[in-house]
Structures are given as C-alpha cells and as structure tokens.
Amino acid sequence: MAKFLLKRIASALLVLWIVVSLTFVLMHSIPGGPFSREKQVPPAVLKNLEERYHTNDPLSKQYIDYMVNVAQLDLGPTFRYEGRSVNDLIKAGLPKTATIGFLAAVFALGGGLILGSIAALWQNKTPDAVATFVATIGISVPSFVMATFLQYYLGYKLGLFPPVGWNDGAWRNLVLPSLALGAYPIAQITRLMRASMLDVLSQDYIRTAKSKGLPGYVIIGRHAMRNALLPVITYLGPFFAYILTGNFVVEYVFGIPGIGQFFVTSITNRDYSTIMGMTLLFCSLLVVFNLLVDIAYTFVDPRIKLTDQKGA
C-alpha cells in the first residue's frame, strides 16, 4: 500500500511538473507581453513594470525562479490586480467555488443514484421513461445553456432566485448555480446507475439470492447496490474534473467571484501568472481526487488490491 502510494504521488508530481512547464512555455510564446493589452503605457512606466515582474529576464531564469516559488507554494503576483498575489485570489475564490461545487456534487450523486435505481427497478415503465428523459436532457443541454436558461426563467422572469451575485453565500444565491452545474452530472450518473443496476439485476448471484427466499428489499439493498455502485465510482474522477471546469462557466454566468471566474478573466486578460497558478491548482486538485477515488474503490470492491497495475 505504501509503495503504491509513493508511486502514485511520484507520477502525480511528474504530471504536475510537465503541466506547469508546458503552461509556462505556452504563456511565454504568445506574442505581446502581459502589458500589451493595457492602454498605451508610457515607456518609463513600462520599463518599471517589466523590471518589477522580471519579464525581461532570460526565459530560463524566469522558469527556474517560478519553479522555486511554486515549490514553496508561492504562485507569484498577478499581473492584473495591483498588489494582489495569485495566492490571494485563490484564497478569496476557492471557498465560494468549493461551496457551489460541493452542493452540485451532492445533488448530482444523490439524485443520480436514486433516479438511476428507480429507472432500473421499474424498467420500461413510466418512472423509467421519466428518469431517462430527464437524464437525456441533462446530458445534451450544455452547461452554459442550462445556466443561462435557469438564470432567465427562474431568475429574471419568475424571480424565484436572484439571477446574479454571491451575496456572501446567502442560500438563495447558491441554488441556481448549483443546479446549473449539477445538471449534466446528475444525468450522467442516472444513466450510469440505471445501466449498472440493470446489468447487476441480470446476474446469477441475484438469482441465487432470490432462491434463498430473501425479500426484495434485501436483494436490492444488500446484493445489488454494492455491485451497481462500482461503475459509478469509476466515474467519480471525470465527475470531479467536470465540476471543476464546469465552474468556469457557471461562475461567469452567475457572477460568482470564485476561482473559475478569476481564471476566465485571467485568460481574456492574458494574465500569465494567474493562468499558470490556476492551472496548477486545478491539476493538483484533480490528481489528489483521482488518487482518493482509486483508494475508495478498493474499499468497495474486495477483488481489487492496491497494486500499480492499471486495468486494461
């Protein structure tokens, strides 16, 4: 187990390093520096700025400096917001993003598991049709369409929830963004759970359980559930990645000042350091989460032992 963990952490660090380096190279190959978007900056000021941000140092030096800083968890200053560092931005934005992400995740997982199970148990009857229909809509409608749609109808037109703003995390402001973010994953999980449950229910061991005279709820709850959950757990990795990237658009549309929004703005502003810092953050979060998912998987399925074998 320890050996496995070490291996995984090592390869995770490798990935992160590659990502950061790549991002670095990409950022610095854009013609026009970070200040080319500003209004005409007087040359003297420009020179000062460049010195301050070391943008005139040879690339290799900039690279090493950056790497050293990153190792100390210092992501550097932003180019856009005077006096604020990337770390500051993250500190400000992450809690908000995390709240919405968490709510969306709970909604998607809980709702998806329930809907999917219902659909499988009443296969081809009305509950199945309804659940499948809802799921198909959720999968097909892109997140930004869903977000703007919810914003328009539930926000502007019907006035049920505030259409924009964070409002210090007032619960009413959390509803629309979480729904918009969770729409796609809940659909995905519903479909996954339904297919998985149907597959499990057709297995021989369910027939054995029935032949032992066990009642329906025991068969579903004890024998079927755990097996049906396995594919859903495998999905959790991409699920998390989606929540992360989906946040960009949701925060953008609903005006939530989370790290997603900062990232999007930093792109339009060509704010190198923020872009790199955020990218690094996202990838780290992903890597950690994937590792946790793998570990969780072994608790649910006793056939899996933690080795460094990747499944074919």
Binding site: S211, G213, R303
Partner: protein, 334 residues
C-alpha cells in the same frame, strides 16, 4: 405417503417481441420424500426452466406459467403469493446453480451469504448464526471454516465454491434440493467429489434431490429415476435400470451412444446426434425430435406421439411404440 412434489402438465412460456417461446410444454412428473431423480437433456430442452418454475424463479415478464399445476407439500405453488414463496425458498426448497463463480456475490463475504439465510428463515444472528455457518462449511468438507467465513468468493477454488453453494442451499435442511448442472463447470475429479457429497447429504438429511444434467453418465450414481427431456417435453421417463438397460426412445439411444466408454475400442468414434435443437418459437407440428431421428416416419411429422407405458413407471412418447410401427432395436449398449 403424500408426494413431496407433484407437477402436472406444466407449461411455461416466454413472451418475447418475436412471439411466444414454449420453453416447457406439458411436463408431468413427481418426486417422493427422500428420493433423487435426474432430468437429462440438451441445452435448451427446458430442464432448467422446469425446475426454476417449480421455485417460481422465472422472471415474470417475459415468462409466464400458462398452464398446469405444481403441488409441493400439499401447497399450490402456481398460485402462491410472492411473499409466501419467499418463505418456502431457502427453507423448504434449495437450489444449486451451474456456475459457482457467477452465482456467488463477489462483494459479500461467504459468511454473510450463509448467515443471511439463517437470519431470514430461522431468526438466528450474530454468534449463533456464525456457529451454524461454520458447521455447514464443515459438513460440505471445507477446511478451516472459521477463517473461511470472512473470505470472499474469489478466494475460493471452483470446487470449493460449489461446495459453498451446496452448503448455502442446505442451510435450513430443505426437503427438496434442486441441483441445476452442478458439475458442468467443474473438472471431472471435482465432479466426482461434489456428487459424492450430495449423495452423503441425501442419506444424512434425507433430502430429496432433482439433479439436472446433460450428462447421462453422472445420473446413474445418484438417482433412482430419470426423466429425459427434449424440446420442452419429457420424451421418456423411468427408473435408472429402465433407461440404461431398456431405453425405448431414439433420442435416449442417441444420448447413450454419445457417452464415451472406457471399454470402447480405440478406433471407434464418438457418435453425436446430428442436427440442432428445435426452434421453440415455431415448434414442429409433430414429434419435436422428428427432424433429427433416423427412424422418423411420416406419422411422426404430423402428430405428437402419445405416452406408452412399457411397465409401471417407464413411459415413452414415441410412435415407434405403436403396434403398427416397424420394430426397431437399440444397437448401442448391452
């Protein structure tokens, strides 16, 4: 003495989008207390569906019992509610399935899969249940039963898994044990062990057994009577001696001829039965075996043969039994 199980003219069909598949089309037999019978036939002849119908395990769409009756311990099985059936399954009737790897739940411990039956039917739990589970494992010949309880199916070998299945089915000492091809997926040596196990248990607990197989070779060891099925119908039934020493149906002859024999000459070939099983969606008009029978007569393709009694207990459904039919002898065995 009342019969343990009486099946009369059972008909089970599956209603698929292509039509009605008559998997079991008029099957009648009985099982007495303490006796073992065998049901023999090829894949698709309806033997599994028959016994699964007896336990009401057929999924009810698309399956359905369209006719006939099943009486077990005096109760009308066909019309029992699901709840009442659940009280019988696992307690009065037990079943062993063909593939022990897929028939055991891979994410639950063996112990749990055993004790849940005890909990359900006898109200045992905790220590008492575990003790009984250990006893059961010992009974079926598994060593170190206490530590085995906490293990998972994938940690057992094929033969041991099947033993566990036997233990699971016998947990509450049921009156009837149905074994659906219990040895087909196992090595020959393990086969012998499992059969011996079943014979011992039958003697110890006096449970009746229905053994399903496509292999006539293993039936003689354990069973006293044999039913031969083909195309959803029983085409011959009788005692083991009747079937082995005085078989009357050409299909039974085919089955007997295709068993490899230790005393056969080395140059002899194995004789398969040519052709494929009938399409139960559109079964042929007359005898189901007619297309593959080398003694087929015009009558056979037009009318379903009636049952003829050779002696008390030995019945055949074949037109060759008709007084007007040519006499055909079986040249297979002595």
């Amino acid at each position: 003495m009342e019969r343990l199980l009486e099946v009369k003219d059972l008909q089970t069909s599956f209603f698929t989008y292509a039509g009605e598949v008559k998997a079991v089309d008029g099957v009648s037999f009985h099982v007495d207390q303490g006796e073992a019978i065998g049901i023999v036939g090829e894949s698709g002849c309806g033997k599994s569906v028959t016994v699964q119908t007896v336990m009401r395990l057929i999924p009810t769409p698309p399956g359905k019992i369209v006719g006939g009756s099943i009486t077990f311990l005096g109760k009308d099985i066909v019309n029992l509610s699901e709840k009442e059936m659940q009280a019988i399954r696992g307690k009065e009737m037990g079943m062993i399935f063909q593939d022990p790897m897929t028939s055991l739940n891979p994410v639950l411990t063996i112990g749990l899969q055993l004790t849940e039956v005890l909990k359900r039917h006898e109200g045992l739990s905790g220590q008492a249940a575990n003790k009984r589970a250990v006893d059961l494992l010992e009974l079926v010949g598994i060593s170190n039963p206490e530590s085995r309880l906490k293990q998972y199916p994938h940690q057992f070998s094929g033969g041991m898994r099947q033993r566990v299945m036997v233990a699971m089915a016998l947990t509450c000492s049921p009156k009837l044990l149905i074994a659906d091809e219990p040895t087909t997926a196992l090595d020959v040596t393990i086969q012998a062990q499992i059969l011996e196990l079943m014979r011992d248990l039958k003697n110890k607990i006096n449970t009746s057994i229905i053994l399903i197989t496509h292999d006539l070779g293993i039936v003689a060891d354990l069973c006293s009577r044999v039913l031969v099925m083909y195309g959803g119908k029983i085409i011959e039934k009788g005692s083991v001696d009747d079937i082995y020493y005085n078989p009357q149906h050409p299909y039974t002859w085919g089955l007997l001829k295709s068993i490899p024999r230790l005393d056969a000459s080395e140059k002899g070939k194995l004789v398969p039965i040519p052709g494929t099983p009938p399409d139960l969606l559109n079964p042929p008009k007359g005898c189901r075996f007619a297309p593959r029978c080398e003694h087929c007569m015009k009558l056979c393709t037009e009318q379903m043969p009636e049952y003829t009694a050779i002696n008390d207990g030995h019945h055949v459904a074949c037109w060759l039994q008709h007084p007007q039919a040519p006499k055909v002898a079986f040249e297979g065995r002595g």
